[in-house]
Amino acid sequence: MLTAIIIDDEQKSREGLEAMLHTMVEGVSVVATADSVTNGVKAIKKNSPDVVFLDIEMPKRDGFELFDAIETINFEVVFTTAHEQYATKAFRTTAIDYLLKPIDLGLLKEAIARTSEKREKDKVNKNFEVFVNNMKANKSNQQIAISSSDGLIFIKIENIIYLRGDGAYTYFFLKTGERITVSKNLKEYEDLLSDYDFFRVHKSYLIHMHEMKKYVRGEGGYVVMSNGDSVDVSKRRKENFLAALSKL
């Protein structure tokens, strides 16, 4: 259940949105409402909500001033306003959504669904970070947690043959023959696995050195992995790669 705060100078607007969320939208609970940015900041500090519905045009301080008053924005923001012209500025700040008054119920439900999904992902990522830190502190626990669309997948590092990067995605190739896709770039795993004899042989490949069967010399050459896949070694990385091989 998401917790929400509504900041709007208009009482009826606050009450209407609160009732809409309470009676027509699932998975959200309004924990506080505020009639100004100043009172909104107090409510946010007190309640630590998941999402803030924020009006923009308010007489004393406009909605954007909220971001000057709060150091760490650890909640999602959905702007609610009758002013369409603020949309671009809203998205440049931290807005996850922008709802034009009168609020359309369908769009409100979509905004809540998006917020919920983002909060869930953030939670998984946070858990992941904690896990990685724990793992680094205790090398005997040699597993890696990777976040997928429906949760965390735990993989023993010794079961990873190599990783291939493709833009914002990374593909894990495992001894079991599985291929797992993760929406993170390869660099993140390079940092994570550098202590476990993984080496970036190419901008698109990070290999587990213990899973190499053969290195074939060439301009950069290529490596044949334990599952038979060939992985190119870039010319630029060849020297460092050979140095790393000699230390194995």
Binding site: D9, E10, Q11, K12, G16, L17, A19, P59, P102
Partner: protein
């Protein structure tokens, strides 16, 4: 007005568009939606009635550079009541009239813009305490706003685009010798418009 310059006609059209297409209309509909959700039928009905009158008057005024003072005053009072329904802080705001001739003519879409600007300023600086007075001495009609509090913000420092259109409208009408006007808003508590039709 016969053979009126195109830019005056454009200004009237833009003033009308600014009113009906502004956030004001969307906020009123939002307010009605809230009433419906909260099952406050009486409030929804009252808001609809007021909005209906304001909207129809605005459509009628869009064809005329001048409207009679009786129509304009009723329009302003309905508009203010609508804003009071949305912002309870404005409940003490009142429009009073002096000795006016109801048939005297005033430019359309000018008083309302100045009033809207004043209401916003009063909500920001004086908890909605504002007095609005319309008076007439001979041919001269005055429209004044006074905030019942001290503020550091001069009236003219927070001017919405719509108000700028209204001021441009006054200037154009004066330039083409339809009216004479004088606007005093140098004080931070006070705005005073004097105008007379030529």
């Amino acid at each position: 007005m016969p053979n009126e310059p195109l830019h005056i006609a454009n200004n009237l059209l833009n003033s009308f568009k600014a009113f009906i297409g502004s956030h004001f209309a969307l906020n009123v509909v939002n307010s009605i939606q809230s009433d419906v959700i909260l099952k406050d039928n009486a409030s929804a009905f009252e808001t609809l009635q007021l909005f209906n009158r304001v909207y129809k008057t605005a459509i009628r005024s869009s064809n005329e550079h001048f409207v009679d003072l009786e129509t304009e005053t009723a329009f302003l009072k309905d508009y203010l009541t609508l804003e009071q329904l949305r912002f309870p802080g404005l409940k003490s705001a009142r429009i009073t009239t002096g000795n006016i001739n109801p048939e005297s003519q005033v430019p359309s879409f000018v008083f309302q813009s100045l009033l809207e600007n004043g209401l916003l300023l009063s909500l920001a600086n004086s908890s909605g305490k504002i007095r609005i007075h319309i008076n007439q001495v001979g041919d001269e009609i005055t429209f004044s706003l006074k905030l019942d509090a001290k503020t550091n913000q001069p009236f003219h420092t927070k001017v919405e685009a719509k108000t700028q259109l209204a001021i441009q409208r006054l200037e154009l009408l004066q330039e083409h010798r339809y009216i004479r006007y004088q606007l005093d808003w140098s004080s931070d508590l006070f705005m005073h418009l004097t105008l007379s039709k030529i």
